[in-house]
């Protein structure tokens, strides 16, 4: 939760970050990367996707998820999309019945993070055709595959929508081809 007094981290972009893991709040910051995690959840608080770009324990993951649900779902309708939480910036946006939530490094560009989330939604939309929450529920592994073609290690991997779409198609074809090949009756 928001920890009150000491929450105000003064943002001074230092040239050389101190090396090694930071243990500000235990386990969330074990690595310095742009995006620490991405969570998708419904208005009722059901988790639809979780991607972690830092190494944290399962228990800690559950805590973070709980905190995010509490923080984001409690926000009034026309608030800003940024929340300061521990030493991370939380960027979230609601698309229909799903909240897309990203935990961002304190020195990173929040407006760009909004664009990242938007781009991911666009990619999902292109792949599923008018994507809705059910698509993501029943094809969750595809949602992950799409995410993994767009982001990697907490950073943007491919900036072209077309390129990502093309790769996904190719990979799917490969999968089917291989399956078909492997499962053709052998006579």
């Amino acid at each position: 939760m928001i920890s009150g007094k000491s929450n105000n981290v003064s943002i001074s972009s230092q040239l050389l970050m101190s090396l090694g893991p930071h243990s500000d709040c235990g386990c969330v910051r074990s690595q310095r990367t742009m995006i620490h995690f991405i969570l998708l959840f419904s208005r009722q608080g059901k988790l639809r996707l979780q991607k972690w770009y830092t190494t944290i324990a399962d228990r800690e993951k559950k805590k973070v998820i709980r905190d995010m649900l509490m923080l984001v779902l409690a926000r009034p309708p026309r608030s800003s999309n940024f929340i300061q939480w521990r030493d991370l910036k939380i960027v979230y946006k609601r698309y229909a019945s799903l909240y897309f939530c990203a935990g961002l490094e304190n020195q990173d560009n929040e407006l760009l993070a909004l664009e990242v989330l938007h781009r991911y939604v666009e990619l999902l939309d292109k792949y599923f055709g008018n994507v809705c929450e059910l698509d993501i529920i029943f094809n969750f592994e595809k949602a992950y595959f799409i995410l993994d073609e767009f982001l990697m290690g907490g950073e943007v991997l491919e900036t072209s929508k077309v390129a990502v779409g093309g790769c996904l198609e190719d990979a799917d074809t490969l999968q089917e081809t291989m399956d078909e090949y492997m499962n053709k009756p052998a006579y």
Binding site: G4, R32, T55, Q84, L111, E141, S160, V162, K184, P185
Partner: protein
């Protein structure tokens, strides 16, 4: 035959998974859901144990779904390992996904996939390679990274764009895990900058950024790439419409932002590099379309870069103006980030930010909690001597309606600002009182002693302060800090309160019973903390010397608390009881008014022991030498005991009242310090004993005041005074008494008497006359005046007051 049926399911791969999901979703209760999941998990486990079948990937997918719902899935880890090693792409795909979800570097099983990853990195099919790269970048441990780094480096140089961009980000992960390996990737990173593919470029920029942030040698080396980076950026900004990378008119904003970020790091603290990018930054700042978020994202990054490098002043002004425009933007997000950026430069470009103070203060009233928080930080940073009054009005207004999580910060910020820029003492006290009334529960602990110190030192406002605090106390006793300060003041200045007349507040007749009622309410209220009740009890006690009629009531209150279950209160009450009974003659001295407190850096009073002159607040009253800091308090213990006993040796078993009150502060915390404050006084409110002049010459006078302490002991206070118009220095006194009388001279308060009676010198002499001989005292006075030394002896034969 069997194969046929499996073929069927393989053709529509997700059916088993989707069926399971449907089953789970149709469960109406948590219990039902758990039942479904348990059944499914059992089936999955059984399937895992079977030999190779076509449905393995679906099984694992089912398990991953169950895992996402929050159920344990660790029994799937080995299956992931097996799937990754499979030759089927579909199985590898789900296997690697499972590895990323279920395994992290801390799990033992993660080591087992190192070999598979290694093999897959050189697979003929790029999609298999990509799976390996992705997984390594997601959960590769330091060991795995070390192991596979050379392979990644190879891929960085010689592969297609698809693999190169993934290898670049994989290298970023490796460098984060094992910093030394940065050296390995530097050459490849450099050469990647000449690629055309945006994905690869982006990856290269991220990698170079990481290298530069980790090592200063890399930073030096990569500074040479600034011209290339500027070129790439220019290409993006002024090129025509590129459909593949366009986002609302901006060409590849992701790459633009990363480039700007890298330029920032390279230009920091370096004139040459900063110069090279000046034009580009100006171009981006002016040409980027700011009607959509994406354009503002680029502008934002540009502004951050301009403000961080050694940019020329024109560019800087441009950047701050952009932030100013952001502040007026309708979009809350933009206002929020504008304030975040202004916060970073409020130290260096203070005047520029001050220009936008009005807008920032308006943001305090914004509905959004995040915006409010930023506005508060910035407002506090913008407070200065010239705007303190108007800013404080806004801040106090904010405090009364701000969200609870911000109250503490706001209150403390207001205090700091008030302390630094208070235009007048009364304003300062008023402000602090206002904060205590509004948000007393959220202030820091040091506030109470700090405020007490402030009040004590503002003697002209004692009456005003105590009246205001009394009124505040009557209306609300729930804010502990406020109540504590109020009790303290009432105890100290109760006489002023009762006198009733004070120019700056409306007249209110307060009688002794009212005051005691108020204090008793605090004592008895369940809202009062122990510390607060301690304050109230001590205040009640102090009033015993400041009021006339209700001393009995005080006595009874004190004796009731003698059996209080709280140890702290009980101890105090017992000691005060003792003060009433055995040491009533000392009570006035012990409960005298406090002298002005010297400020310590820590804000706590137990500080530097030596040489603290005790300033006089009302010079017409005689004072005894009582001072605050702890070690001197120990001396004071001896002094008091000296007065009581006839010997001058160290006290062996000090009486309960004297020493325990004074040695209590040997506890370390703040409240102990407050005890010390409460009990040692400096001013005598009772009518001064008559002073007899024993010596007078040329305006220099010496008076004595005698006080009988016991049958044989007495204190003689010698006071030197200079009403002439030349300064007197080296003023010393020596005294002699008949043989059987014991004499002990304490240290004088000083040795200089400035002209015109601005200050006095006092010296206390303790006499003990056990044989009750006729008391005489010879005093030699010596001093320098107008360059010449004066020495005189006088004899005192009669001592008034004996």
């Amino acid at each position: 035959m069997l194969q046929h049926s499996y073929t069927h399911t393989a053709m529509s791969p997700s059916v088993p998974l989707q069926e399971m999901i449907r089953a789970i979703r149709s469960a109406r209760t948590q219990c039902e859901e758990r039942g479904v999941i348990q059944r499914e998990c059992a089936a999955i486990r059984a399937q895992f144990r079977q030999a190779d079948n076509g449905g393995r990937s679906h099984n694992l997918a089912k398990l991953l779904y169950v895992h996402m719902l929050g159920y344990p899935a660790h029994f799937g880890q080995m299956e992931c390992v097996r799937m990754i090693a499979s030759s089927r792409y579909s199985e590898k795909r789900v296997g690697y996904l499972g590895a990323m979800m279920l395994l992290d570097e801390k799990q033992d099983a993660s080591l087992l996939i190192t070999n598979s990853i290694k093999n897959d990195l050189s697979h003929s099919n790029q999609y298999v390679q990509s799976l390996a790269l992705c997984t390594l970048a997601c959960m590769g441990s330091a060991e795995m990274c070390r192991d596979l780094a050379p392979e990644i480096d190879r891929l960085l140089r010689a592969s297609n764009s698809y693999i190169k961009k993934k290898a670049a980000l994989c290298a970023v992960h490796i460098v984060r895990k094992v910093h030394e390996l940065g050296e390995l990737f530097a050459p490849a990173a450099r050469s990647l900058l000449s690629e055309k593919n945006h994905g690869v470029l982006h990856g290269a920029v991220v990698l170079i950024t990481e290298l530069c942030e980790r090592s200063s040698e890399s930073l030096e080396r990569f500074r040479k790439t600034v011209p290339d980076l500027v070129q790439i950026m220019k290409g993006l900004v002024i090129s025509g419409y590129s459909p593949e990378h366009d986002v609302a008119g901006i060409s590849d904003p992701f790459l633009q932002v990363r480039l700007l970020r890298l330029l920032r790091i390279l230009g920091r603290n370096n004139e040459t590099a900063s110069d090279a990018m000046n034009d580009l930054l100006a171009q981006v700042a002016t040409n980027t379309d700011s009607t959509k978020t994406v354009g503002n994202a680029v502008l934002y990054e540009t502004v951050l870069t301009v403000l961080d490098i050694k940019s020329e002043s024109g560019l800087r002004v441009l950047a701050v103006n952009i932030l100013g425009r952001f502040l007026l933007n309708n979009d809350r997000n933009i206002r929020y980030i504008a304030m975040t950026s202004l916060q970073k430069i409020v130290g260096t470009d203070h005047n520029a930010v001050q220009r936008h103070r009005g807008t920032i203060v308006d943001c305090l009233k914004d509905q959004d909690a995040s915006v409010k928080r930023r506005a508060l930080d910035l407002s506090l940073a913008l407070v200065s001597a010239s705007n303190i009054r108007s800013m404080m009005k806004e801040l106090l207004l904010f405090l009364s309606s701000c969200p609870p999580e911000l109250r503490s910060q706001a209150a403390n910020g207001i205090f700091t600002a008030a302390e630094r820029y208070a235009p007048s003492k009364r304003w300062h006290i008023d402000t602090i009182l206002h904060v205590l009334i509004t948000a007393g529960g959220d202030v820091r602990d040091e506030t109470v002693p700090n405020l007490i110190q402030l009040i004590t030192n503002t003697s002209e406002l004692h009456c005003y302060t105590v009246h205001k605090l009394y009124r505040a106390l009557l209306s609300d006793i729930s804010q502990q800090s406020l109540v504590q300060v109020a009790c303290w003041c009432i105890g100290e200045y109760g006489d002023l309160l009762l006198r009733g007349d004070c120019q700056e507040v409306e007249p209110m007749q307060v009688c002794e019973d009212d005051v005691l009622d108020a204090l008793e309410t605090v004592l008895q209220s369940h809202m009062s903390s122990t510390a607060t009740r301690g304050f109230a009890l001590t205040a009640t006690m102090k009033l015993s010397t400041r009021i006339t009629d209700n001393v009995d009531r005080i006595r009874s209150i004190v004796s009731i608390y003698g059996s209080c279950i709280d140890l702290e209160l009980q101890q105090r009450a017992v000691e005060y009881n003792a003060l009433f009974k055995k040491y009533d003659h000392m009570r006035a001295a012990v409960l005298e008014r406090m002298p002005v407190i010297e400020r310590n850096s820590s804000g706590l009073i137990n500080g530097d022991p030596t040489g603290e002159p005790v300033k006089e607040v009302q010079p017409s009253k005689v004072k005894t030498e009582v001072s605050l800091p702890l070690p001197q308090a120990a001396d004071q213990t001896c002094d008091l005991l000296d007065l009581l006993s006839s010997s001058e040796q160290q006290p062996q078993s000090p009486p309960a009242a004297g020493s325990s009150i004074l040695t209590q502060p040997l506890g370390t915390d703040c409240s102990a310090g407050r005890d010390l404050l409460d009990l040692l006084g400096g001013l005598e409110p009772t009518p001064p004993p008559t002073a007899v002049t024993v010596y007078e010459k040329d305006g220099v006078t010496l008076t004595i005041v005698c006080e009988k302490q016991s049958d044989s002991a007495m204190t003689v206070t010698l006071t030197g005074f200079n009403s002439s118009d030349c300064d007197v220095s080296s003023f010393t006194l020596q005294a002699a008494v008949p043989k059987s009388v014991q004499l002990h001279m304490k240290a004088p308060s000083g040795d200089s008497l400035p002209a015109g009676g601005a200050a006095k010198v006092t010296q206390v002499v303790l006499l003990n006359n056990p044989n009750k001989v006729n008391l005489k005292m010879r005093i030699r006075v010596s001093y320098s005046c107008r360059g010449s030394t004066v020495q005189e002896t006088v004899q005192v034969d009669s001592f008034p007051g004996l």
